[in-house]
């Protein structure tokens, strides 16, 4: 077997804050091959963004971060290379689309210039070359009148247009890996489709691998090969996209899928969110973090952290009942379609 493009092993990330240590990522492992697309879904605040920021060590100046584990990219551990080396990789071999498009763009620099700057830094292109390429890219991500609008500042772009600018910057240097954190949340359905198809095209044409973080199961379904489901800083389930919809194993995954909105009928009356609250990340979690909200939880679930149970070549579930549940769920069915 060839080595994967990116391999994350037992990543743990914590922040020291005034009110204690926050474990934002706790024992995460996954890998991505060249040209492959991995989706990361899960609870808000479960560590999706922090894990991806860890790959590029992009933390705030005042964050007191502790990182452990390994992040192997093309065989090198990114956690152990120098800042200078990493800065060549950032925006070069690894591109990133950030979750908050406004705050990640420089408010006082024209958008075209921001794209061009990255091109110049990583490829050594001349100013006019970089500008020309920047306009092509802006056009490609669907900014109307790109040649004119590239001289405008980010604040005069709408939310969705800024998001497209972020995509242009991220793909400017034809990265090997593109990390997209909610790349299409502020986009209408048609532009969303265009961006997703663009990412898909880049993946096929240039063999770019993709990590797609999103809350939208429609996006997941349309773009990724495999999915990682996170809850309270921990991985819950890892499976292929087909398995996700046909035989989700973890009760948390199932709970999420049941809430995926469907357009064919009006979601009547009151919605039924998963009951209870996620655990505080400042406290030690001994058992399964989902146990307090899980209808199936047994005593061991509250006391011992479940192992990631391997259910197949591309299916793992961190649940004490995984094997049992897998046996019952082998007949394809769509859990979220059964009326609740």
């Amino acid at each position: 077997m060839s080595t994967p493009l990116l391999e994350v092993r037992d990543l743990c990330v914590s922040f020291a804050t005034r009110d204690g240590v926050v474990r934002a990522v706790d024992g995460l492992s996954f890998s991505v091959d060249a040209g492959e697309a991995l989706g990361i879904v899960g609870e808000s605040g479960s560590g999706k963004t922090v894990s991806s920021l860890s790959i590029l060590r992009l933390f705030g100046l005042f964050d007191d971060v502790t990182l452990s584990g390994e992040i192997l990219f093309e065989g090198r551990d990114l956690l152990r290379i120098s800042e200078a080396e990493l800065s060549r990789i950032r925006g070069g071999k690894i591109g990133m689309v950030f979750q908050d498009p406004l705050t990640s763009l420089n408010p006082v620099m024209p958008v075209g210039e921001q794209v061009a700057e990255s091109i110049r830094f990583h490829t050594g292109a001349t100013r006019p070359q970089a500008r020309k390429r920047a306009i092509e890219l802006l056009d490609r991500v669907g900014i109307p009148d790109a040649a004119k609008r590239c001289d405008e500042l980010p604040h005069s772009f709408s939310g969705g247009m800024r998001q497209r600018v972020m995509v242009a910057i991220a793909i400017a240097c034809e990265p090997k890996l593109l990390i997209a954190d909610e790349p299409s949340t502020a986009l209408d359905v048609t532009v969303q489709a265009q961006i997703l198809l663009l990412l898909d095209e880049l993946r096929r044409e240039l063999g770019i691998a993709l990590i797609m973080i999103t809350h939208d199961f429609g996006v997941v379904a349309a773009t990724v090969d495999r999915v990682l489901v996170m809850y309270a800083a921990q991985p819950m389930e890892y499976c292929t996209i087909e398995h996700l919809f046909d035989r989700a194993n973890h009760p948390y995954t199932e709970g999420l899928l049941r809430l995926v909105p469907r357009l064919d009928h009006r979601m009547g009356g009151r919605l039924r969110p998963i009951e209870g609250q996620p655990p505080a990340l400042t406290e030690e979690i001994s058992g399964c973090p989902f146990a307090p909200r899980c209808g199936l939880a047994e005593e061991r679930c509250h006391n011992d952290r479940p192992p990631l149970v391997r259910l197949g070549p591309h299916h793992e579930s961190a649940c004490w009942l995984a094997t049992e549940r897998a046996a019952r769920l082998t007949t394809p069915g769509r859990p979220w379609e059964t009326p609740s």
């Binding site: 908050d100 405008e152 532009v191 999420l256 039924r272």
Partner: protein, 342 residues
């Protein structure tokens, strides 16, 4: 009426000094306890319309009446006191939160500014509101940068709801939330509507969410409202070709989503129009599959009522020259048929 917008026009200037008409003669109304969903393409002017409706940005023409007060001649203290009843949840949660303040203080701020209650009462209200939007207690002392995207978004929601407002303008309020928290927030908004008669202007790209919450839906395209009507009419019998495309274009969470993406892309074919240089005549003509030279490329369509005046279709209006003549098979049907075949 809680909000009345008449013939509103908002213009910006582009970098090279040319006018951009981001909101072009838009009229809408929102009644007490009513939710109006506002949908439309990226960059079509939804956020601009929302900001202008609160006079957070100046408008160039038209009239806005908020809670019965004409904002045109309102300023200073008076304007602030009207706005207190009409907070906004901003599209960019992080950018709209003061980075130096803690979560607790941000949510408390509106209460403090408007002198609602003493410190102890306010602290209790803040804690209750944090719980309602699903923000764990442990986040109380954190700063915005120490939160996840969805947590920031919920701080924005809590801040807007804490003063028990009359109208809340929500710009993509749930886009960064997982489906479970999203359901919790949507329930909360519905509760506020039912118990406190709150009205909402609800901007979102997620049509399932819009459908769930809205009484009526307005569809915007390049600065104009092209269709508006009762929510079920818009989803089951969209009349404007743009709305039809939009309704058809929903990504569904299933194993056929990839094929669907291709179909959606074909729907959005044609040149991306620009506000700098909007097409003459009907603005949708450059992408409309039905457009004919005369009149679509010559004359801007008027807004007309469709269907019966009363009943389910009350107030369903559309701005399309051909709305009576095109009887496209409901695009939703076309799509699902073609994927069943394929």
């Amino acid at each position: 009426m809680v909000l009345e917008v008449d013939d509103l026009v908002v213009r910006f200037e582009s970098a090279d000094g040319r006018p951009i008409t981001a909101v072009d003669h838009v009229s809408l109304r929102i009644g007490r306890r009513e939710t109006l969903g506002l949908v439309g393409e990226t960059g079509c002017g939804k956020s601009t319309l929302a900001r202008a409706a609160l006079k957070l940005i100046p408008f160039d023409e038209g009239q806005v009446k908020l809670l019965g007060r004409d904002l045109g001649d309102l300023g200073g203290e008076e304007l602030r006191s009207v706005r207190r009843h009409c907070p906004m949840i901003f599209q960019d949660p992080r950018g709209s939160l003061d980075p130096r303040m803690t979560v607790g203080r941000i949510i408390d701020e509106p209460l403090k500014v408007h002198r609602l209650g003493d410190a102890a009462q306010r602290a209790a209200q803040v804690r209750e509101m944090m719980d309602l939007v699903g923000l764990p207690e442990e986040l109380h002392g954190r700063r915005p940068v120490q939160l996840s995207g969805g947590q920031q978004q919920r701080v924005g929601i809590a801040r807007a709801l804490i003063t028990r407002p009359s109208l809340v303008i929500c710009d993509e309020p749930v886009s960064a939330l997982d489906v479970s928290i999203r359901a919790q927030i949507l329930n909360l908004l519905a509760d506020l509507r039912d118990t406190l008669d709150v009205s909402f202007l609800f901007i979102a790209h997620d049509l399932a969410v819009v459908r769930h919450l809205s009484d009526r839906v307005a569809v915007m395209y390049l600065g104009r409202i092209v269709e508006e009507g009762p929510v079920e009419r818009i989803f089951s019998e969209p009349r404007h070709p743009y709305t039809q495309g939009l309704v058809a274009a929903i990504l569904r969470a299933d194993n056929q989503a990839r094929e669907r993406l291709q179909l959606v892309d074909r729907l959005a074919a044609g040149d991306l129009p620009s506000l700098l240089n909007p097409p003459a005549g009907c603005r949708y003509n450059s992408r409309c599959p039905y457009a004919v030279d005369d009149p679509c490329r010559l004359i801007p369509p008027d807004t007309e009522l469709v269907g019966d005046a009363g009943g389910d279709a009350a107030g369903h209006r559309v701005a399309c020259h051909l709305h009576g003549q095109i009887t496209p098979p409901s695009s939703e049907v076309t799509l699902s048929e073609s994927w069943e075949k394929g």
